[in-house]
Symmetry: C2
Subunit: 269 residues, 2 copies
């Protein structure tokens, strides 16, 4: 769709030109797929299950290609299908690219040193078999462990989305704890803002985004202000009873700066 | 080697019978493999790279089968090889089992709700293509997100190892922060202890372990005491200049309760 070699700018162009901030989740849990897709397939036949999953994802991609700003396959549901599922993921990513869609893989990877380099290279590197445009990353191991991901993303004009504040009930167990007047998620958001400011493009947005939950709308305005150069991936839309009004504070005055995940609403409607 | 349907007990039997607490890491970074393995293989030929990696891992498994308490493939380095690498991982896990070795996959997975179920099912479930015996898990998303992993592990007599305190320099960014007199990693360790106490077997150890870094030896005794029913996976051995004395405090009085990761020392010696 557009060939900017900068993820933040590419996403801005997609959102502007399509007038859509929808991030379409591809969450192909086998048991949740339409009966017509699963009919007659033995779950023990991994190749057949993976092939049917691929067909399903292609149908979804055909349906949403014009309206989605970006698509987000959930790695877990492909990994669940074994090596055949990982091959299916590769096919789905390639097909997304033929549709002009950038692919954000929701893998929530995170590790130290050379292992983080391995993950970054696996999904975002020049020689990546998967060739994702962006990857979700977990910060628990420390700020130093984000650097290999940031480096690889910047080199390839790809992006990462760091988990900052998630939408599940238990997210407060760790993320909401307050040290010296600042919550842990705020502490993470500062690191994300720094990396994205350092890599910001013409749109004003950088290559390092933040995953934030829409189940806590009061925090969206706070995070928007704290991370002015950061794309927010807002989770919890529709399925968790969140409305469009609830996510409005995630956007900047131009209607940029946020993408809103929409999986169950679109896919299992 | 032994067929106990309880991960904690199975690991205790392995450590006792082999008189070894060594967890052999399988970290097949392509660039680090011996020249004899890589010679003549074009890195762009994914099938050939994956096959050579599989051969290498089989050689290592042959060499360590009698002395390793358990083996730990690093998922990142298999994922880096694309879908072919994931097939290679499956072969390596199956070969480990033929050698009587339990397999702890170092994947550091973590997600919410049904996605966590997906990961648990993918690697530990009854129908898992990979059939791992244990998986490393990241707790950043919250205590509720550990539950699907714990449930699946207990149902199948498998295990999980939750990241508690890692060995990298930046681990203090989050893990060492103190709330109400307790560090964040201590807070995580309490959840791990609860789950492992609930699932403890005849050995006294449960199915939920903890990843701890040996680079902070003073913390090992503290963690051993705080998690009496928990297997500790101690990281940072050899490569980070840690000695056997440094990890002694991780063991109980019977010499159980800890396994010590040894990757570079064994594999690239």
């Amino acid at each position: 769709m557009n060939q900017s070699n900068h993820f933040g700018d590419r996403l801005a162009t997609a959102v502007s030109s399509k007038r859509s901030a929808v991030c379409v989740g591809l969450d192909p849990r086998w048991q949740s797929l339409p009966e017509a897709i699963r009919s007659g397939i033995d779950i023990a036949n991994r190749a057949a299950v993976a092939k049917a999953t691929e067909c399903y994802c292609r149908c979804v991609l055909d349906a949403v290609a014009d309206s989605a700003a970006i698509v987000k396959p959930q790695a877990a549901f492909f990994e669940q299908l074994g090596p055949e599922g990982m091959h299916c993921l590769e096919e789905v990513i390639q097909y997304s690219h033929t549709k002009g869609l950038d692919v954000l893989l929701d893998g929530k990877r995170g590790d130290i040193g050379s292992t983080a380099e391995g993950y970054a290279d696996a999904y975002l590197g020049v020689q990546s078999a998967w060739g994702c445009d962006a990857l979700t990353v977990n910060p628990y191991l420390g700020d130093d462990t984000l650097e290999p991901f940031v480096k690889t993303a910047n080199e390839r004009g790809a992006g990462i989305f760091v988990l900052v504040k998630t939408s599940n009930p238990g997210s407060g167990f760790m993320q909401d704890l307050v040290f010296e007047g600042k919550s842990l998620y705020h502490r993470v958001s500062q690191v994300v803002q720094k990396h994205s400011s350092d890599s910001r493009g013409q749109s004003g947005y950088g290559n390092v985004g933040a995953v934030v939950g829409a189940t806590y709308p009061q925090q969206l305005a706070e995070m928007r202000a704290a991370m002015p150069n950061v794309w927010l991936l807002i989770h919890g839309y529709v399925a968790q009873g969140v409305t469009a009004e609830d996510v409005a504070d995630g956007f900047d005055t131009k209607g940029l700066g946020a993408i809103v995940n929409s999986s169950p609403g679109i896919i299992f409607a």
